[in-house]
């Protein structure tokens, strides 16, 4: 479990980092906290010829909240998010989801950008990005492009990032104060990748009806996804037990998880429905009749 032979570059500026990536083409790999890449190198599942360490780049470590949205630099760690009291107010769903990310040591080093670029199907950050319509800023040799999280993620462990591109920040739209929301996931141990997870929010109009429902799920497909069929059920409705059970039934049918060593597909599918019920009940502050 030693790294394969490789070179290491630690550029001081973003243009230098991009130039280094461009020179090495597909043989270079960006490293930040290293919490996904280092194990892959140790297992020799990845064998780049050069690592470009972006850990020293300025301006990628900030969290800023403005009228335009919440900007989180690619080098922000889970621990940074946990410690940022303002952020917990400004985006409670993000804070709740990030509380489930990884174990103590990993939380100190793992970064937002790293998690997005690694694109694990069960990871919380990509899930929140997809659920909340996040926009990602990507800088490369030919300029800057801004993509939605949905456009950015193309499958399990795959994204649109080009060989000479770096994800520099992620912007979440501002959170509305009276928004109803919840995050639910189940993992084998606290901090493990979720067997399934749900991020949910919606707004309430003057009549008490839900609109702008956003339901995102992790761990049940090759990438995080929204469930438009479920959102359609919620929009314009008063969220009660019946609506929630309908929504959960639609959610179960909307996903097609795969079997793996941690769970059979049918379990993940059913678990997703249960987690969605619980998330929506919590968001609506109602108690569902106990089943089983």
């Amino acid at each position: 479990m030693k790294l394969p032979p490789l070179d290491y570059i630690c550029p001081a500026t973003l243009p230098e980092a991009i130039a280094a990536l461009a020179v090495h083409g597909g043989n270079a790999k960006v490293i930040a906290g290293g919490q996904s890449l280092m194990p892959m190198l140790a297992f020799r599942l990845a064998a780049p010829s050069v690592l470009v360490d972006i850990g020293r780049l300025p301006d990628l470590k900030s969290i800023s909240i403005s009228a335009e949205g919440i900007d989180i630099g690619a080098l922000v760690t889970w621990r940074d998010i946990e410690r940022d009291a303002q952020l917990a107010q400004a985006h409670p769903l993000l804070a709740a989801a990030i509380a489930h990310v990884a174990h103590y040591q990993v939380r100190n080093r793992g970064t937002v950008g790293g998690s997005m670029a690694h694109a694990d199907p069960a990871a919380e950050m990509p899930g929140i990005a997809v659920t909340c319509d996040a926009m990602l800023t990507i800088v490369g040799s030919t300029g800057t492009r801004i993509l939605s999280a949905n456009e950015f993620l193309t499958g399990g462990l795959s994204t649109v990032l080009g060989a000479d591109e770096i994800l520099t920040s992620i912007r979440l739209p501002l959170w509305k104060k009276a928004r109803r929301w919840a995050f639910e996931e189940l993992a084998r141990r606290r901090g493990d990748f979720a067997l399934a997870g749900v991020a949910a929010f919606y707004d309430i109009d003057a009549q008490g009806l839900a609109h702008n429902a956003h339901i995102g799920v992790i761990g049940v497909a090759d990438r995080p996804m929204r469930l438009p069929g479920v959102e359609a059920i919620l929009d314009g409705r008063r969220i009660d037990a019946d609506v929630i059970l309908q929504a959960a039934a639609v959610a179960r049918d909307a996903v097609d998880p795969a079997d793996d060593i941690h769970a059979e597909a049918a379990y993940r599918r059913d678990l997703l429905g249960v987690l969605l019920e619980r998330a929506l009940a919590r968001a609506a502050n109602i108690t569902l009749p106990e089943a089983a």
Binding site: M1, K2, L3, P4, P5, P39, F43, R44, H103, L186, R188, R189, R190, D192, L195, I261, H262, A263, E264, A266, Y267, D270, L271, V274, E290, A291, A292
Partner: protein, 764 residues
Amino acid sequence: MSDVAKLLVGSAVERMEDARFLSGSGNFADDLAVEGMLHAAILRSPIAHARIVAIDASAALAMPGIHAVITARDISDTIPIIPLRLAPLPEFEPFRQPVIASDKVRYVGEPIAVVIADSRALAEDALERIGIEFEALSAVTERGASETPLFDFAEDNVALRYDAGFGDADAAFASADYVRTERFSVQRHTALPMETRGLLAEWNSSAGRLVVTGATKVTFYNRRALAQMLGLREDDIDLIEIDVGGGFGVRGEFYPEDFLIPFAARKVARPVKWIEDRREHLMAINHSRDIACELSLACRSDGMMLGLRGQVFADMGAYIRTNGGVVPAKAAQFLPGPYRIPHVSVSVEAFMTSKTPVGTYRGPGRFEANFFRERLIDMAATDLGIDIAEFRRKNLITEQELPYPIDGLVPYEGPTSYDTGDYVEVFERALKEIGWHEKRHLQGKLVDGVRHGIGLGCFVESGGAGPKENAALTLEKDGSLTVAVGSSVLGQGLETVLGQIASDTLSIPFDRIRVLHGSTTLLDEGFGTYHSRAVVMGGSAVLDAAIRLREKILQQASNHLGRPNSELKIINANVVADNGASVSFAALAAGCELQADGTFSNEVRTYSYGTHAAHVTVDPRTGAVKVLDYIAVEDVGRAINPAIVHGQAIGAIVQGLGGVFLDHLIYDDQGQLLNASLADYLVPTASDFPVLRAVTLELRPSPSNPLGAKGAGEGGIVAVAAATANAVAAALAPLNVEIHHLPLTPPRLWRLIKNAHARAITAA
């Protein structure tokens, strides 16, 4: 004669090891670095079963920094075979493991070649350049699943079958009011010590001597085995034990690497270090458990147990390693447990598969046997309409019935008896601790969306294996004491415990005692640490040596002070005469050599015993289980250091809960190990089970040794599956779910609930 203000034996002395570990001054295998040291990496079979057609190491050898690539061809025409240390049944002989694969590989992870390089990273680079041509054969992953024999001489893959027992089980079953038969299993998993294995081998060619550092557990036995394999005299080899980060049975047995690394050091005439990485650890160190059992219980209608029949099926993996058939033999032996069952018959079938070989892991066979029996007891009690606590109370062996012979259950062992104890009192204590009477109404109840269950598990646990242990005590010139013992230290606090025993006996301050352990340089012979024997055997040997040294000290002081022994007292490392004259230990040691050897020989085993109780909730919609409360009550005879015993118990419960819920070595039908990393092989961490309690009792000392101690390191794990699975089953009983198989993962419990629901609908 001695006068000590406060005896240390029996008190929670802080561990003398802790300052060293907590300040980062421990000395573990990977801390070793010597001049000229090279590094080894091992090429392991990527496929489960194949013939090796050709190996081409030329590209690897041509790489800079590579000193050697060693394959079977470089070793000799006859590849050394790892001996059977325990349970040496002749049937197992042909299934023993060669130290390196020559013509065939039989499991993923089997060593094929060793690369010696300037660094471990270079060695791993070279592994990728070794070309091997395999002719794939079909993998064998289940009992009776394949006609392919793994060994050419064998007709099938069964290595051993035997029957054992006492009484007349057939007659008992024929006359019983009630019989129930069920099949159970415990999944393959392993101990996972925090520190992986590691060795540094140094060959001195001019002296013809070999020193291997990083050895542990049974160093003297391993030296004997290594000497034979290398064609050296035992005296020409030293095995040195340094700090060890956990053993749990798996670390320190003789593995292929225990030959390959010393062999490589001699071949390249340079020191060679090998540190096992976590990936290879999971495929190379002994696996364990992996026992299935068909168990039948015969009772009277009032719940009195009459007979027990058990068929034990053990997946031994690809070879029989040093532990022989201990795992299945103990799974069979401990099926009756602490109960009065007059008629018992057991059978054992040990079969070979294309998986990593099996060996002992903390509570070998007991973890499994207790789970099987205690589950069946709950089923029987429920069928008969008897309270599960009352059923156990009725059948537990009473103190009046002890010693209670349980002969004839293990073919390679002589007669043995449960020794001393009050099984019922300890059982009642566990009920009280868990709040059985107050909480039993919660069984199966749905409260806030989760179902509650309380489970019980009773056990007896053998320890203190013979034949003997040795110790040597030396009073140094500065008046400090050096204790050398043949027992091994694997992180369990043995240095402290032995220091306590020596301190009390010699009235030497604890901080003036240094404990040396394990290494073959210390004594002529040692027997090591396994079967919870280090305190019983090593502690008794230290006590013996300390008593002898005390006599020598007094005799020397008598000469020095001119007073008879009868007028002398030892006070705080001084000998004081009635007339007030005194002489310090240091002064006595300066005048002459004060040294004493001690030994303790004993073939009688100790039987600690106890009851575990667990209170869990199960989320019936997700299968997630929470452990709300857990209590383990055990009588260990005598706790030399209650804090250490308590730590052993709590750690063992956590490790056991890992075996119940998390630990699982998963193979596919090609014999590939699917989870050889800690991302996918799940173990409990310190924060996963925060509410665990242990009560250590000293009700009945062991008659087998002067300390009165019984084994105390394994009782914390042996009944965890029993109590916890019973609790989960009790929680899910209203849903008609029964628990037969571990691990209890959320997806498995969910599946059981779904299936029971589907059955109910079909039936209705």
